[in-house]
């Protein structure tokens, strides 16, 4: 069952009665049976969106459809959802078994069947042997599995996870995110999860939805979004190490960073910003070949790769970081080296709209520019 979100808006009134638009005219379609990551920095409205899908918050405007049914006004228990809270919200006074049985008891499922289903779902998330423990006797990872089991046991149509990995330590996080992916694949349940960790979202989602200040920036397969960010925000938000930003200028169809032309584009002369992914540099030998030159400040070996910290006057940060193969020779601290910029790893962003110019139609760039001018 797919989820359609149409013009969804949530306005909160803060203490001074000023309105805060937590979610602003959100339009997304969550395809059936997929794992979708809602991704964004804190305060971008991703959790608010999740809670509106769950029915715990009612939207100010807009509709939510589960399949063809409008569930906007439906109360949470009638929506057929399972929700895993950020801090799990396991009932502390009940054992694991009682926690998992709780939804079934409320639905008046016969006892024998309920026990069977609880054991089955507990085995699925690998906590079948912990049924008689209390939540506080479990580790964070185990508690989380119990929370997932409790959400899954009533066989919901939609599974919602609020920051599912944020309370786990680094190693457990890696393990659990694979686990979530596995459980999702085995049950085939439409799953939406919220996270501020781009790596987490990219690694397990079938699709990611990047949000900023209540507005969707981009939706797509993680690799597509990473390779073709529609604007500077998305480009900067995805990827570790982060993308490197440079001030540049388009002169006669050439993208100039300082005195050097790193690419050719069919745009008019104007100031732009250029983003280059850390893996987008091709270091070349010799003083005259290679489009882009900079001073190496520091070299870190990270196993297979070398991470190079370098400096360039046009860089928007004091230094930038890129990654090259560890075998490449001739890179030394203090030396000026030259590199080519891979064309699919660099993006040209409009100075005012911050949109990826190569992915935007001229109208898109223009319209916003005029609004911007009117405002001044």
């Amino acid at each position: 069952m797919d989820i359609k979100i149409v013009h969804l808006t949530k306005v909160f009134a803060d203490k001074d009665q000023a309105e805060v638009r937590a979610v602003d005219d959100l339009d997304i379609v969550i395809p059936s049976g997929k794992l979708i990551g809602l991704l964004g920095p804190s305060g971008c409205g991703k959790s608010t969106t999740l809670y509106m899908i769950a029915g715990l918050l009612s939207p100010t405007d807009g509709q939510i459809y589960f399949g063809d049914d409008d569930v906007t006004k439906l109360s949470p228990e009638k929506r057929g959802i399972g929700l895993v809270f950020q801090n799990y919200a396991l009932y502390p006074h009940m054992t694991v078994k009682q926690n998992i049985l709780f939804p079934l008891q409320n639905l008046k499922v016969p006892k024998v069947e309920a026990l069977e289903r609880a054991q089955k779902v507990a085995d699925l998330v690998d906590i079948g042997s912990l049924m008689d423990r209390k939540p506080r006797q479990l580790s964070g990872g185990q508690q989380q599995r119990v929370a997932i089991a409790r959400a899954l046991v009533k066989e919901p149509d939609v599974l919602l996870l609020d920051e599912p990995l944020s309370n786990l330590d680094a190693r457990l996080r890696l393990q659990t995110r694979e686990e979530i992916k596995r459980i999702q694949r085995e049950t085939g349940i439409t799953t939406v999860f919220v996270t501020h960790d781009q790596e987490e979202a990219m690694s397990i989602s079938d699709e990611i939805v990047v949000m900023k200040l209540g507005v969707v920036q981009q939706q797509g397969k993680p690799q597509d979004v990473y390779n073709n960010p529609v604007n500077k925000f998305v480009a900067k938000f995805l990827g570790t190490p982060p993308i490197n930003m440079f001030n540049a200028e388009i002169v006669d169809g050439k993208v100039m960073i300082g005195e050097e032309a790193i690419a050719e584009v069919p745009f008019e002369n104007q100031e732009v910003e250029v983003g280059i992914r850390p893996e987008g540099f091709e270091v070349v030998d010799g003083a005259d070949s290679g489009a882009f030159s900079f001073v190496v400040e520091q070299i870190e070996f990270i196993g297979r790769d070398k991470s190079i910290v370098a400096r360039h006057p046009n860089c928007q940060t004091a230094s930038f970081r890129f990654i090259i193969d560890a075998d490449i020779q001739g890179v030394e601290v203090g030396k000026t080296i030259r590199a080519n910029v891979k064309p699919n790893k660099r993006y040209i962003f409009h100075k005012v709209t911050e949109k990826n110019m190569e992915l935007s139609s001229p109208e898109e760039l223009e319209v916003v520019e005029q609004v911007e001018e009117l405002g001044e």
Partner: protein, 305 residues
Amino acid sequence: MEVKRNQLSAWLYLLPTIILMAIFTVYPLIRSFFMAFAENYNYMTDTWSSIGINNFRIILGEGSEFLQYLKTTCLIVIISVPISVVLSLLIAVGLNSIKKLTKLYQTIFFMPYVTNSIAIGMVFSVMFAGDKSIVNYVLELLGIGGQNWLGGVSTYGNHASYVSQMTVLLIYIVWHSLPFKILVLLSGLQGIDKQYYQAAQIDSASKFTVLTKITVPLLSPQIAFLTTTSFIGAFKEYSSVIGLFGAKEGATGGHYDMRTIVGYIYASLTDLNVGEACAGAVVLFVIIMVFTLLKNFISRKQIHY
């Protein structure tokens, strides 16, 4: 050296309290234990004839008033504690779910706590006593018919029954003990993570299930605390009886004697029956101790965390 000096100053700081406690709490405690076993104790000369259990034999013996007072006290405990705990729980949950004017309602419900209990008792006796009392008026209107609640001359007969007097007393005690309990339970309720309720809502729990399966267990530490303290409080019930029935505690004027154990102890002291008063105090102490141990034993299994 440093540690020793620190310890010395710590004891020095505690000294005023320790001295006061020793004089006014510890010594009287030990002394009253002793006096309970001293026979023919003379308060003026501080002399006694022998040590034995004669005082207990008197107060627990056949035909002793003490047993009647013990019965009254136990009835108060057994009836008022469960009712007031359950009632305060329901009121606290209700208050907690009110969104508007919460502060105002909380203030109203807290009023009895800060009001003098003798004053409340007088108001209660006006509400219940006589032909023209408001309670009888309302009961007549409802067609149930009034009663002689507190004794005295009335058209309902010149004697109040033990049951009707006990009813008024219990209403008074429960009502008076509610605010503190509500306050404790409210603060407990506000400490419960809202996500449990959201989780329960998603798990399709009914309101009743939420109350019994989630709220009550999560409040069990507060409920246990309140049960213990109100058990002890109810065993020591005294001022409510004075407030309702006057200083004579109902011994005259056509009503039953509603004295409690503490009332008996006070009365014995005034009559200079010091040995019997102390024996009564020891019996009360033993009862409270047994109840507390029993409660601790039960709650070890019932409190969830």
